[in-house]
Amino acid sequence: MDYRPWSINKKKMLSINDLKAEIEGKKILNGLSLEVKAGEIHAIMGPNGAGKSTLSSVLAGRTEYEVTSGSVSYEGKNLLDMSPEDRAREGLFLAFQYPIEIPGVSTTNFLKTAVNEKRKYLGLDPMEATDFLKMMREKMDYVEMDKSLTSRSLNEGFSGGEKKRNEVFQMAMLEPKLCIMDETDSGLDIDALRLVSNGVNKLRNKDNAFLVITHYQRLLDYIVPDFVHVLYKGRIVKSGDKELAKELEAKGYDWIKQEVEANS
């Protein structure tokens, strides 16, 4: 079924083991486990408030969330011990559900800083300006991003679709290993959805992996997942292949909720 030549010998990238996390005393992740290998695409679906954004925030290292137990290993390292910026420099990327605006800082300047900080961490010299601009042009094509956007203040006054495209563009620029996309599809019209998905498909290769959080199966028509997981009340309650997404689309989440209640 898996047609990709690299499916043999997959490297383990991310192992989440019985992860529990809370915010302000409220338990949100309640024993979540997940394995992701290089080259894979995992879709995470689930009703509103299930903890999907919390999972992405905890993986990215937001300090508001307290991890109370469990472990996360990323590329053989203890992810939870690392600062958010080091996680990023080690190749973890989060496409935000709500991208943040930074007035007065252009996307170009922002990315130049980000790329060079990562290079510094890896012991490399800053990128030459001409090489950087060349890379910008190349990666902008991935999501057909308008050149004028990169000189404007980061995300300021961008439409919803432009913000999401900018997230995928940044992802392309930073060449991450693990890409977490938090509802990148929400609020996109069908054309923007296709652009964003095309970008992701160009980026995927045997060495990186994607965690695609979405509400809708329609995204998964473009970005075809290897696995689909249902997150409910802070745990993965069901896993399957892309057919599961179709089933959820057709039947909603109620049957899953009932299954969970029945088993508990």
Partner: protein
């Protein structure tokens, strides 16, 4: 972020490093401590001044004696004991030198360390520098090349001898000694500063710059700068300054006067980085400066740009008197305060001529327990037909123990005036910082990036060579202000 975490993070406001805090060990000649007519005479005689200059100083001194220290500020100011200050300090064996080879190597090294190279080979290309060390000008670079174009750029003490008619005509013409407490004090005891004259029709071929360094203990610095741009001329001038870290407060009370004749333009930029005191507010410079420009001629323009990061207390309102019809005044300001610093800064735009325009852009950033105020006046006189002003004041808070205040005063006496004022206050967001972190940008870097973005409009006004320096300086001043 929970409250306790927030407090924790802000408690880490400790690591602010002041790079320029070293002092130079050099033999000095100083006046006895304290202030009296004799001290005024002493300073004047040190400079070999003409009689009229001494008379002017004495008048200023006697006037100063009748004044009381200002007390309208919105913070406590420890009274300054003016008898505990040394009013003149100069490195020994320095008379006026023809060549830099004769400058004490200690002094050259000092300026080298401050990033200001006075030596022939390493000079910043395209920038002429006047270096002032405590009370005297040490060296002025590129003087001869400038003189070929007719541009006069020298120490004001030298101008008093070489170009007395110009000094006599213009000194005190924009900021009279009667203007305020500190301008009176400055007129009495000023010891050096820069003098610039740009003749008619000349575009000054390079940036001019003065670098002020306070070194000696217990001294005050009272420099005086006078810039005259004759008809159809242009000059861009930059001033920078630093001081050693000392536990005592030191007073800096400068006066700057700018005169722009018909169609002349003066661009005056300041990167102010006096020692700000330590994190508990001990030590630091009191920066009480009077800066004012007069747009004398029609279609003239004066533009003030300032990046204020240093000093324990800053009080300064670079202003424009718009006399000439169609003249323009601009004020672009970034003021950053951290720890216990206080900045009270802004501008006065006095519209007198017809069709005069002014623009004010003020960006205040407060971190730690500091206070940052914008105080500005826009005044439209009766016969200033069709005057326009646009004011924009933005404040950014870092943490929740700092304060930002805005005091805009507007006086309009002509119905045709158009005056607009916009103000905003924002807080540097945890969300913004996290977003940067997630892209691999560390927190200190992120704060620098966000703050520089916030100030971009103002930084864009600086000459290229200094914009980069100013950006770094902003980041350094805020080091340790966020987790």
């Amino acid at each position: 972020m929970s409250d306790t975490q927030e407090v924790d993070i802000i408690d880490q406001v400790v690591s602010q490093e002041y790079k320029y805090g070293f002092s130079t060990d050099i033999e000095m000649e100083t006046a006895p401590m304290g202030l009296s007519e004799d001290i005024v005479r002493f300073i004047s005689s040190k400079k070999n001044e003409p009689e009229w200059m001494l008379e002017w100083r004495l008048k200023a001194y006697r006037y100063w004696l009748t004044l009381e220290e200002p007390n309208w500020q919105n913070f406590d100011l420890k009274p300054i004991n003016y008898q505990d200050i040394i009013y003149y300090a100069a490195p020994k064996e320095k008379i006026k030198l023809d060549s830099l080879d004769q400058v004490d190597p200690e002094l050259l090294k000092t300026f080298e360390k401050l990033g200001i190279s006075l030596s022939e080979q390493k000079r910043l290309s395209g920038v002429a520098v006047d270096a002032v060390f405590d009370s005297v000008s040490i060296a002025t670079t590129f003087k001869d090349q400038l003189y070929e174009k007719g541009v006069i750029f020298c120490a004001i003490s030298e101008a008093l001898h070489e170009h007395p008619e110009l000094v006599k005509k213009y000194i005190g013409s924009v900021v009279p000694y009667t203007d305020n407490y500190f301008s009176a004090l400055n007129a009495a005891v000023f010891s050096d500063g820069s003098f610039v004259y740009i003749p008619k029709g000349v575009r000054c071929p390079m940036e001019l710059s003065t670098y002020f360094r306070i070194n000696a203990e217990n001294t005050g610095q009272f420099e005086r700068t006078l810039i005259i741009a004759d008809d159809n001329s242009y000059v861009s001038y930059l001033e920078g300054c630093t001081a050693p870290m000392r536990d005592e407060n030191q007073l800096h009370a400068a006066v700057v006067e700018l005169i722009a004749m018909e169609k002349a333009e003066i661009k005056y930029s300041t990167v102010q980085n006096w020692y700000p005191g330590d994190k508990d507010g001990k030590g630091g410079i009191y920066n009480f400066v009077t800066k004012r420009g007069s747009c004398e001629g029609a279609h003239s323009k004066i533009s003030w740009t300032q990046v204020e990061t240093g000093s324990a207390i800053t009080w300064k309102y670079p202003s424009c008197i718009l006399k000439g019809d169609y003249s323009t005044g601009e004020f672009f300001s970034v003021a950053v305060t951290n720890n216990r610093q206080i900045a009270d800064t802004g501008t006065k735009m006095i519209h007198i001529g017809k069709h005069t325009k002014s623009r004010i852009v003020s960006k205040g950033i407060s971190a730690g327990k500091s206070h940052n105020s914008y105080r500005g006046l826009v005044k439209i006189n009766k016969r200033a037909e069709n005057a326009r002003n646009h004011t924009q004041c933005d404040s950014m808070l870092i943490g929740d123990r700092s304060g930002a205040h805005t005091f805009p005063y507007i006086e309009i006496n002509n119905k045709t005036a158009q005056v607009e004022h916009e103000a905003s206050t924002s807080k540097i967001g945890e969300d913004q910082i996290f977003y940067c972190n997630q892209r691999g940008i560390g927190t200190e870097e992120a704060v620098g990036l966000i703050v520089n973005g916030f100030c971009k409009e103002v930084l864009n006004q600086l000459p290229m060579e200094f914009a980069v320096e100013a950006q770094k300086l902003l980041a350094v001043s805020l080091e340790g202000s966020v987790g």
